[in-house]
Structure formats: structure tokens, C-alpha cells
């Protein structure tokens, strides 16, 4: 699993790729929470997430909740089919803000 962070002004784009599972989700959790604490907008690019389990979902939920407390915009972008299936199973596809492209999440299309 790869987790890269790209700074875009007062926003961060967290690019996840590979399997977000019990082994790698702590790294994802820490990265997301760090970004949420420092930025006004966090966009999670999930195009290359090949697998995500309940621990990966938990990381997203925790970051989402922290973002709400922090008044940080938290968006999932370009969610892979595999990841979307898991979000739907958890009924979280209607909870998270999900956009097609990272640029939409950053508000460039606004």
C-alpha cells in the first residue's frame, strides 16, 4: 500500500494505492488525521485502491469525524469500484462526500 501526500496550498491530496487493510490502515489513519489537523481541505484520491477492509473504512470514518470537528472539508475522490463496493456495504456511500475527480474535491470546479 502506498500513501502519498500532495500539498496544494491550504489543501492536501492523499493518494492511496494498493490494499488498505489491517496491516496498512494505521499508516493511512495517521496520514489522514495529520492532514485533517493542518489543512482546510483534505481530498482522498482512491482511484488506485485495489482493496479496502473494515479497518481501512474505519480510518476514513475517523478522519471524517475529525474533519467535521475541525471544520475541515473531507472528500473522497475517484473512488475505485472495489472501494465503492465496500463503502456501499457499510452504507457509507451516502455519508461521505464523494466526487469523480480530485479537482472537484478541491473545489476547482466551483
Amino acid at each position: 500500500m502506498n500513501c502519498e501526500i500532495r500539498n496544494e496550498g491550504d489543501a492536501a491530496v492523499v493518494v492511496l494505492s494498493g490494499d488498505v487493510d489491517l496491516e496498512s490502515s494505521p499508516k493511512v489513519r495517521n496520514a489522514l488525521l495529520d492532514c485533517v489537523s493542518m489543512k482546510r481541505t483534505v481530498v482522498v484520491d482512491m482511484k488506485s485502491v485495489s482493496y479496502i477492509d473494515s479497518s481501512g473504512v474505519a480510518s476514513l470514518v475517523e478522519a471524517f469525524q475529525a474533519a467535521r470537528k475541525n471544520n475541515t472539508r473531507f472528500v473522497l475522490a475517484h473512488v475505485s469500484e472495489a472501494a465503492m463496493r465496500v463503502l456501499e456495504l457499510a452504507r457509507l456511500d451516502k455519508v461521505f462526500r464523494i466526487v469523480d475527480e480530485v479537482a472537484d474535491g478541491l473545489g476547482h470546479g466551483d
Binding site: 477492509d53 474505519a58 463496493r85 456495504l89
Partner: protein
């Protein structure tokens, strides 16, 4: 029997388990979504063994056995931890938005049937899961 594998009940084993279960489900004729669902269910069940059955003193194994016929895929996940109180294992309400606690829900959603069955002699717990092959 399509697959029988015994691995350490450790986080590091999960990736291998997912690859093997995916290959077995595919070989049994599951469609791609069925394969992904089966992989997720078994992964979540293994996580429960690692985190809850063995707990912090994780020093045991997990045995995963997969068999199938033209109609159905069946999986047994056996551990050698102390028997768990299966009456306490239930999915949490999804309206309760919080991290964690989704593993049992995913197993129930991904598989057509699952239940704890009598484990083999010397084993601790046995979770049986089944999925219709489409």
C-alpha cells in the same frame, strides 16, 4: 477440497490469505464480484480471529479450508484459540457512525450463510461460511 492452508494468525498473513482465497473462489467458478465478496468476508473473519480470538497474545494458527461444487462454495475458518462466546458476536447498527465494528456486518453481507459450528478436536473455534456460485 479446493484449498487447505494453515497460516500464523498474524496481520502479515492476511495478504497471502486474500490471494489464495481469491484464486480458489475464482477456480470454483465465482464471478468477479463474488470473488471479491468472498475475499472480503474471509479477510474480516481472519481479522476477528487475530484481534479477538487470540487477542494480544497472538501465537496461534488459522486453518482455512475451501471446497465447492457446481452450486456452492463453502469455507471453514478454524482457529486454536480459546472458544469464544458466539452469542456476543453480532453486527452493530450501521446508523451508529463510528470507526470499527464492521467486520461481522461485512461477513453477513458478503456471504449467503455463516455460522459457528463445532470445531475439530483440539481446535478452538470454527466459522463456516457459504456462498452460492453465480
Amino acid at each position: 477440497m479446493v484449498l487447505s492452508v494453515r497460516v500464523p494468525a498474524r496481520v502479515g498473513s492476511l495478504r497471502l490469505v486474500r490471494r489464495l482465497v481469491g484464486a480458489a473462489a475464482s477456480a470454483c467458478g465465482c464471478a468477479s464480484q463474488g470473488v471479491r465478496d468472498t475475499v472480503l468476508a474471509v479477510d474480516e473473519a481472519c481479522q476477528n480471529v487475530i484481534l479477538h480470538a487470540y487477542g494480544e497474545d497472538a501465537s496461534g494458527d488459522m486453518l482455512i479450508e475451501i471446497r465447492c461444487d457446481a452450486r456452492r462454495l463453502q469455507i471453514d475458518l478454524v482457529d486454536f484459540a480459546p472458544p469464544v462466546d458466539t452469542t456476543r458476536i453480532r453486527p452493530r447498527p450501521l446508523e451508529d457512525l463510528r470507526p470499527g465494528g464492521l467486520g461481522t456486518h461485512f461477513i453477513n453481507e458478503c456471504m449467503d450463510a455463516s455460522e459457528f459450528r463445532t470445531p475439530p478436536r483440539g481446535a478452538g473455534n470454527r466459522l463456516w461460511m457459504a456462498k452460492t456460485i453465480r
